[in-house]
Every structure is written in structure tokens, then in C-alpha cells.
């Protein structure tokens, strides 16, 4: 029972204090999972990171499911996964309620107007960061450029783009 409680608390913390998504939560996760509770070794931690890169879904959720399963089986996986998304659920619910209440306030409108260029910049910055580790040879650049063209200008479904790129990976590498 204490195991479940610890899992819940650790992943609730990870969920609550990781701003900016994905990679921003890694240091916190490392501290909880390796240093505080010794649920994993450093090498296993890198493995779970690699797995998260290769499997669908947010890395925080993936890590929670994986660690939870390792520590306490299926139930552990469920507890850790729920714990990691609970803070999001609470915070977004509050924000949504707040925004709906003040929908007609010019302030809400101004705030969003001010945030829009920031969001655009953030997404582009994420693209640059991912590009640094993804473009390692001419083949990967061609795949990237091709998919960009098809999705942006030829209305290719992004999901098909991902599937196609996976097949190209098998053929080209």
C-alpha cells in the first residue's frame, strides 16, 4: 500500500512541477525515480527515455506507466499514470472556468493577443531543438523537407506522413 502512495505522490509532483512539457520534466523525474526512491538505475532511466522517444504519447505519461509497472505491476502503472495527469486536470479545469467567466473581459482578449506570438515562437523553437537531433544526414533532411512540403502544401494527413516516414526509414537505413 505504501508503494502505491509513494508512486502517486512522486508522479503527482512530476506532473505538477513540469512546465513547458517534455524535456523540461526530465530532471525532476530523475530526482524522484533514481535519487529519492531508487526505483530505477541510471541506465534504465536512459532506456525509458529512449523508449519514450520511440513510442507515442507524452514522455511524462510514458515514464509514469513504465515506472509504475516496474514498481507495482499493472495497478502501479495505473496509479502512476493517473497521478501524473491529475495536476494538469486540476489546473486546466481552473483556467477554463476562469476564462469562461471572464470571456467578455478585454483583459482576457489582450492576454491571448500577447501570448500568440510567444506560442508561435515556442513551437518554432521546439522544431529547431528537435531538428538538431533528427537531421543527421542528407537522407533525414530529404525526408523532413518532403514531409513538410506534402503536409503544408498538398494537404497530406500528418498521421500518414508519420507512417510514410517510418516506412522510408526501413527502406533507406
Amino acid at each position: 500500500m505504501i508503494k502505491f502512495f509513494q508512486l502517486f505522490l512522486s508522479f503527482f509532483k512530476v506532473g505538477a512541477f513540469s512546465f513547458g512539457g517534455g524535456y523540461a520534466m526530465l530532471p525532476l523525474l530523475e530526482e524522484e525515480v533514481i535519487k529519492t526512491h531508487s526505483w530505477m538505475s541510471g541506465a534504465e532511466f536512459i532506456d525509458i527515455f529512449a523508449i519514450s522517444e520511440m513510442t507515442p504519447g507524452p514522455i511524462a505519461v510514458n515514464a509514469a506507466t513504465f515506472v509504475g509497472y516496474k514498481v507495482a505491476g499493472f495497478l502501479g502503472a495505473m496509479v502512476a499514470t493517473l497521478a501524473v495527469i491529475l495536476p494538469s486536470f486540476i489546473v486546466i479545469s481552473l483556467i477554463y472556468t476562469f476564462i469562461s467567466k471572464f470571456k467578455n473581459s478585454p483583459y482576457v482578449d489582450w492576454i491571448f493577443k500577447g501570448i500568440r506570438p510567444v506560442v508561435l515562437g515556442l513551437i518554432a523553437a521546439a522544431g529547431v531543438t528537435v531538428a538538431k537531433t533528427s537531421f543527421m544526414d542528407i537522407k533525414s533532411i530529404i525526408i523532413g523537407a518532403g514531409i513538410f512540403y506534402l503536409v503544408s502544401f498538398k494537404k497530406l494527413n500528418p498521421i500518414l506522413g508519420i507512417v510514410g516516414a517510418g516506412i522510408l526509414g526501413i527502406l533507406l537505413y
Binding site: T55, A77, A124
Partner: protein
């Protein structure tokens, strides 16, 4: 309706590789283009809220979009849809971990997917720029913010606060005087 929402977000969850940002173009395609559940501007607001709240961006945006479409129950359904594919996948991997570890085919597939993720992220940017009719001012601000984040590694949350605060001050002080609305 709820079932359709669940399926849509299950699909989004299943194809979100490489972290939250990769799902932005997929959400855009499914939620804005295909189902018209929210508009392009609302989508951008969703991303900014997801960005500035704690937790995974994919989960945050599902919750918010869920609320927008169908309130609390919608938020629950969309969240469940988003996390279920990764929950199932990771559970399977955790059970058969050692067989997956050094799989060559797996590795090759992801060599192909990684650059595609970059392409998808930039096509999302392209679409937002193109569809939202942003002015040059907004665009150059976005570019500056991108450079700041990439090179100075400042936490996104500060940029969001700065953008929101700056805009409120600007509208309050400058726009109120001459009463011209955008």
C-alpha cells in the same frame, strides 16, 4: 459525439511521437480542419494555455479542447483518449522490455520518423502563420522569441508571462487613449 471525441483523441495520442509538440499539427488537422470543433485562433489559445500550465502539453491541450467541446465530461473523454494509446504501448513494452531493446527494425523506423516530426512541427507553424493572418509585428516578435528560447534557454513560462503582461499594458496605456480597436 463523445465516442467520436474519444476516437479522435485516441488517434491523436497514438500518433504523437517525440513529445507534445509533434501532436500540434495532428490536433490541428483533426480538431480544427476535420471536425470544426474549435477555430484556428482558439486552437492557438489552447496551445498557449497548454504551454503555460504544468504537465504534458498533449494532455493539457486535450483537457482544454475537451472542455471547449463538451464541458467536464468532454475533458475526461479527450484525456482518456490521449493517454490510452501510450498507456497500452508502454505496458506491453514494460512486459516484454528485453525483446524490444535492440530491435533493428524499430530503430530504422524511428530514423525515418524523427525528421518527419520536425517537418510536422514546422508545418504547424506555417499553418498558424498563414491561417491566422498575423501581421509583420507579430511575426517578427515570434521570430525573436524563437531565437531567445533556442539560444538563451529561458523557460517558456517567463516568455508567456512577458507576452501577456506586455500586451495588457500596451492596450491599457496606448490603445485606450486613441480608442482605435484592432
Amino acid at each position: 459525439m463523445l465516442w467520436k471525441m474519444f476516437l479522435t483523441f485516441f488517434k491523436i495520442g497514438a500518433f504523437t511521437f517525440g513529445g507534445g509538440f509533434a501532436m500540434i499539427p495532428i490536433i490541428q488537422q483533426e480538431v480544427v480542419d476535420k471536425h470544426n470543433w474549435i477555430k484556428d485562433e482558439e486552437f492557438m489559445d489552447t496551445i498557449s494555455i497548454a504551454q503555460s500550465s504544468p504537465g504534458p502539453i498533449a494532455v493539457n491541450s486535450s483537457i482544454y479542447v475537451g472542455y471547449k467541446i463538451k464541458g467536464f465530461i468532454g475533458a475526461l473523454v479527450c484525456t482518456l483518449g490521449t493517454i490510452l494509446p501510450s498507456f497500452i504501448t508502454i505496458l506491453i513494452i514494460a512486459i516484454f522490455f528485453n525483446q524490444f531493446k535492440d530491435n533493428i527494425i524499430f530503430e530504422k523506423v524511428f530514423m525515418g520518423i524523427r525528421p518527419a516530426v520536425v517537418a510536422l512541427i514546422f508545418s504547424a507553424v506555417y499553418r498558424l502563420v498563414y491561417k491566422s493572418h498575423l501581421g509583420y509585428g507579430t511575426l517578427s516578435m515570434a521570430l525573436a522569441i524563437m531565437l531567445i528560447i533556442v539560444f538563451l534557454k529561458i523557460s517558456p513560462i517567463y516568455m508567456v508571462i512577458l507576452g501577456a503582461g506586455g500586451s495588457v499594458i500596451y492596450h491599457k496605456l496606448v490603445k485606450n487613449n486613441d480608442n482605435i480597436e484592432e
